[in-house]
Amino acid sequence: MSAEVNPGVRPERNVLAETWCMARAEAIEMFLSIRALFLVITYGGIAGGIGAFVVWIDGKMEGKLAEASQKAAELSVTEKASLVEQITKQGMVSQTLAEAIVNGDLPPLVLTILYTSTFAIPILIILVGYNRIAEDVSSRYTRYVLQRIHRGAYLAGKIIGHFLVCFTAVVLVHVLLLGLAKAYDIFDLGRTVQAMPRIWLGMACFVLAYVSYTVMFSSLLQPPFLVLLIAAMGLFLIRFLTWVLSFFWAPLGELWLGVWDVRLWALEPAAIGVFLGYAVVFIALAQLALRRRDL
């Protein structure tokens, strides 16, 4: 053994470059993992199954859902406004969402599929990445990594990598399902394709919030199994608590992300604000935990 390595000139530290390096490695590793495939298969299976069921129901109703949607799009401005008012009054959906549906920006079939299948995404996001930081800390691999990059860059890299994998998997599932719909001429593909960029923007906020939620627990707790347990239980517990609180004072029911997701597909600013706000809080807590903890 002999040391031939020339120490050379140390490059300037660049937090952005550190973040990108970490994110790239993280994304590649996760893309190639069995869990990314699991996310695609599970979410694809759920969304595809629900989609097939909704299309079947619509078929049984002789296309009445699609027909009503088509008719709504053909209404005059005043008629549309009146219809929006009626829908909003029932309290089922917000005004922006009702407008998006009545104007034909969001096909009801797609909305129904999204509404009923999105419940699975948070738990899948947790399953895909719950251990990404907790395992590094448990095995002390962080001691090799964090002598080279800043903790903030490490955390940002982990979040970006996790986000890219989950968001790509979700978009991939949507694209595959749209491909299937086109192959079998199932529904109005043109309007659906037009609606997708808006849906994906909303989905990006959705995925980011739950990735941040997962990363927060992964930074706060170890071992990894505990992260999985607490993060998954937390989802149900918070949803249940806010539901109970809503009986005492209705606005308390809107404290958690769960009730905002449908409004997200219509890109309602309040919904985007809630999701991004939660993401910021989760990331800040994760950063605080990582910065203060002994590794």
Partner: protein
């Protein structure tokens, strides 16, 4: 010599257990510094504190003059081989090193070149494409050392680098550390005291989290202040001892109980060579059979003295 690493009154508590107690150390730039102490002396905690992995309960740490702040570890200032830290098993050896090098700010080509060289340096070139899970403990240890080589001019800290290695690999690793030392400041801890004695220019001895001795290896061993003479048989002429006591700078002459050894304490380390020559002259003049002369104590002996239970 400026200090590469300074610890000023550093204390680290784990709950109610004090792992490091008011430790002040100065590790000179360009030194090969040995950190030694019995199990539980606080060596690994000290390494983790210097790496910025642990936050001191009290005190201040400076790496090349820059104070370590909580949550802001010495990124790019220190590269360490941590004890009990695992590299990811599913990664391949070269891939893992390249990734760590790129994290350190190297381009892809530079990272590959340095990683391949580092693997060559630790004798693992042929295992570059193996998964880390397929390596033995010793081989993984060597990969851990290789990752400290894919940096620039960082201070290198090796926490028990030769633990679990076979004697030949440990010896080769010692040579590697020595050759690295030509360009870098290296801090290492080891239970192999003869290894530390051979390799290190400086050392510190820790016991129960406290610093009990530190300085250059000569200072620790008392090389310039202590002369140990081994005799073939006890002195027949007692006047020899009186003659030894009259040599310039000799402070005390203590024969061993069985008479086959003499411990001579010198006042001025700068006169140690002269004292040694004079001592030999006197002994030979008095007909003594000199078996050997040793300057200072063995590091092992100093270690045992300073870390004995009564020494606190």
């Amino acid at each position: 010599m400026s200090a590469a690493v300074e610890m000023i009154g550093v204390t680290k508590d784990y709950g109610r257990v004090r792992a490091v107690d008011d430790l002040s150390l100065s590790i000179p730039e360009g030194s090969l510094y040995g950190l030694i102490g019995p199990n539980g002396a606080g060596k690994t905690t000290t390494f983790a504190l210097l790496g910025g992995f642990l936050r001191p309960t009290k005190g201040e740490i400076r790496i090349r003059g820059r104070q370590l702040l909580p949550g802001l570890p010495p990124v790019g200032q220190v590269l360490s081989l941590p004890q009990d830290a695992a590299l990811p098993n599913h990664k391949r050896v070269l891939e893992c090193l390249i990734f760590l090098a790129q994290l350190g700010g190297m381009s892809g080509a530079e990272a590959r070149q340095k990683s391949e060289q580092a693997l060559k340096d630790v004798g693992l070139s042929e295992l570059a494409d193996r998964k880390l899970s397929q390596l033995s403990h010793g081989q993984r240890r060597r990969v851990g050392i290789a990752q400290t080589l894919v940096g620039h001019d960082e201070v290198i800290m090796l926490d028990e680098p030769t633990a679990g290695l076979d004697p030949r690999t440990a010896l080769e690793l010692g040579q590697l550390i020595q050759s690295l030392h030509a360009r870098r400041t290296i801090v290492l801890s080891s239970h192999n005291l003869s290894e530390v004695e051979t390799l290190c220019t400086h050392a510190a001895i820790l016991s129960k989290g406290k610093l009990v001795a530190s300085g250059t290896m000569d200072e620790i061993k008392g090389t310039g202040q202590l002369l140990l003479v081994a005799l073939g048989q006890p002195l027949s002429n007692p006047a020899a001892l009186q003659a030894l006591a009259t040599i310039v700078s000799v402070r005390a002459v203590n024969p061993s109980p069985d008479g086959t050894g003499i411990e001579i304490q010198c006042g001025d380390p700068n006169l140690a060579d002269q004292v040694t020559t004079e001592v030999l002259k006197v002994l030979i003049q008095h007909g003594a059979q000199v078996k050997g002369v040793e300057r200072g104590r063995k590091l092992e002996q100093r270690f045992l003295e300073t870390t004995a239970p009564t020494s606190g």
